[in-house]
Symmetry: C2
Subunit: 211 residues, 2 copies
DNA sequence: CGCTTCTTTGAACGCTTTCAACCAGTGTGG
DNA sequence: CCACACTGGTTGAAAGCGTTCAAAGAAGCG
C-alpha cells in the first residue's frame, strides 16, 4: 500500500488530465504544480517542498501538471486504500483538512501577490517565502543575516510570480544593486538583513503571515 | 449552538485579526473575503455565495476581511461545539474537506487568471465563473443565451481580478461593443452566446473546469 | 433638486513585456 | 584539446497594456 517513487530533475510526475491512482507526500526535493492556457502561458499554482501533499482523495484525474525540479522522492499510497484509511482513522482526515486549509491560506496570500504586488515586491516576497519555508524545515526562525538556495530557475520563478523571466532577472539585479540581497552564483542568495527584505515585500513589517 | 445572523449590504462580517468565535455558511446573499496591503491595495481572495463556508475550525482569529456585498443571511455555529461535532461525526469533517479542496481548486484557477490572463480575458472569465455558479445554484447547465446579475460593483470586480475599476469598465464596454455581452442597466448582463464568452476567457474551449 | 455613489470615458504616463543580442558554464564530438 | 552547441541567465531598446489622473454622465435618495 505504501511505496516510494523518485524522479529526476525536470521529469514529470503527473500530467493534467492523466489518471492518477496514488496520493503521496514529498520526502525530499522540490516539485511544482502548474496550469497552462491553450497558448502556452503557464502559471505555477503550487510549490511542493518536503512534507507537502500531492494528489486529491476521491479524484482519479490529475487537475494540474506536477514536475520535479530537483531530484524528488515521493512517499506514495495507492488511492483506494488511502481513502479507506481516511474513513477509518479520523486523525488522518483531520490532518489532511488542516494541511488543505493551510494550503488554501497560502494560495490566498499568493493571490494577493499575483494581483496587487509590483515586480520588485513579488521577487522580495518570493525570497522571503522560500526563506521562511526553509527556516521552518530546519526548525529555525528567519531573521538577521541568512542564506538560501533557490530551488527554481528564473523561468520557474517567473511562472510562480506571474512575470516574465527577463523581469525576474532584472528585479533580482536591482535588489542586488540596492544591497537588499547578495548573489552566490546564480542559485544561492544571501540576505544581509532579512527585515529589510521583508520591508521590500509590500507586506506589513511584522511579516503579516498566517497565524 | 446554531443561530442565524444577517448583514446589510456593505456591512463588515469580520475583520482580519479580529476574534471570531463562530463558523458559518451563507444561506442567502453574497459576501467577499479580501486582503489588504499596508498602503490600501486590496485583493479579493474569496467570493462567498449561498452554501459557501466562512471561518476556519481551530482558528479563532480571522485571517481575512469578510464583507457583505448584498443583504446576507449566515447560518452560524459556535466554533467550539462545531469542532466537537467534527470529531464525533466524520461525515461533517469529510464534507468540509471536500469543500476546502474545491475552494483550493478554485483558488488555483483564480491564480492562473491573476497571473497570466489579459484584462479582457479576466473579465470574460469572471462573467463565465459567475454564470456557472449561478447556473449551478439553480441546477441548470450554462450555455446558449443566458442572463446573470452581477453581485459586485465595478470596484469589487477590480479587486477580484487584480485590475483597476477603470480597466474593468473599459473592458466591459469593449466586450459590449464586440457583441460578446449585452448590458441591462449596470448590474445585469446577457450573453447572446455563452460559448463565445468562454472563447474570450482564454480557457480551453470545453470550459476547462475542475472535473 | 441637490447630494452621493457608481460608472464611463479621455489622455498621458509608466511598468512590464517583447524581441534581440550577448555572456557564462557545461557537455560533446572531432 | 578545442570548436561547437545547448541551457540558463543577463542586459538593452522599443512597444504595449493597464494604470493614473481628471472630468463628466447616470442613477438612487434625502
Amino acid at each position: 500500500m505504501k511505496f516510494y517513487r523518485s524522479f529526476e530533475p525536470g521529469q514529470p510526475i503527473v500530467w493534467e488530465g492523466e489518471r492518477m491512482d496514488f496520493v503521496g507526500s514529498v520526502v525530499t526535493g522540490v516539485a511544482t504544480l502548474t496550469q497552462m492556457l491553450d497558448d502556452g502561458r503557464t502559471q505555477m499554482v503550487g510549490l511542493l517542498l518536503p512534507s507537502d501533499f500531492l494528489g486529491r482523495p476521491n479524484r482519479d484525474i490529475a487537475a494540474y501538471n506536477a514536475v520535479a525540479t530537483t531530484r524528488v522522492v515521493l512517499c506514495c499510497f495507492r488511492r483506494k486504500p488511502f481513502e479507506a484509511l481516511m474513513c477509518t482513522t479520523p486523525q488522518v482526515a483531520h490532518r489532511l483538512l488542516e494541511m488543505t486549509l493551510d494550503e488554501l491560506d497560502a494560495a490566498r496570500e499568493w493571490m494577493l501577490l499575483l494581483g496587487r504586488k509590483t515586480a520588485r515586491e513579488k521577487i522580495a516576497s518570493f525570497l522571503a517565502i522560500i526563506a521562511r519555508r526553509e527556516a521552518a524545515l530546519h526548525k529555525r526562525d528567519p531573521g538577521g543575516r541568512m542564506r538560501i538556495d533557490l530551488p527554481l530557475t528564473r523561468e520557474a520563478m517567473a511562472d510562480y510570480l506571474g512575470l516574465t523571466l527577463e523581469t525576474v532577472s532584472r528585479q533580482i539585479s536591482a535588489l542586488k544593486r540596492d544591497g537588499v540581497i547578495e548573489l552566490v552564483g546564480k542559485r544561492a542568495v544571501i540576505f544581509p538583513d532579512f527585515a529589510r527584505l521583508v520591508g521590500e515585500s509590500g507586506n506589513d513589517a511584522d511579516g503579516g503571515y498566517p497565524r
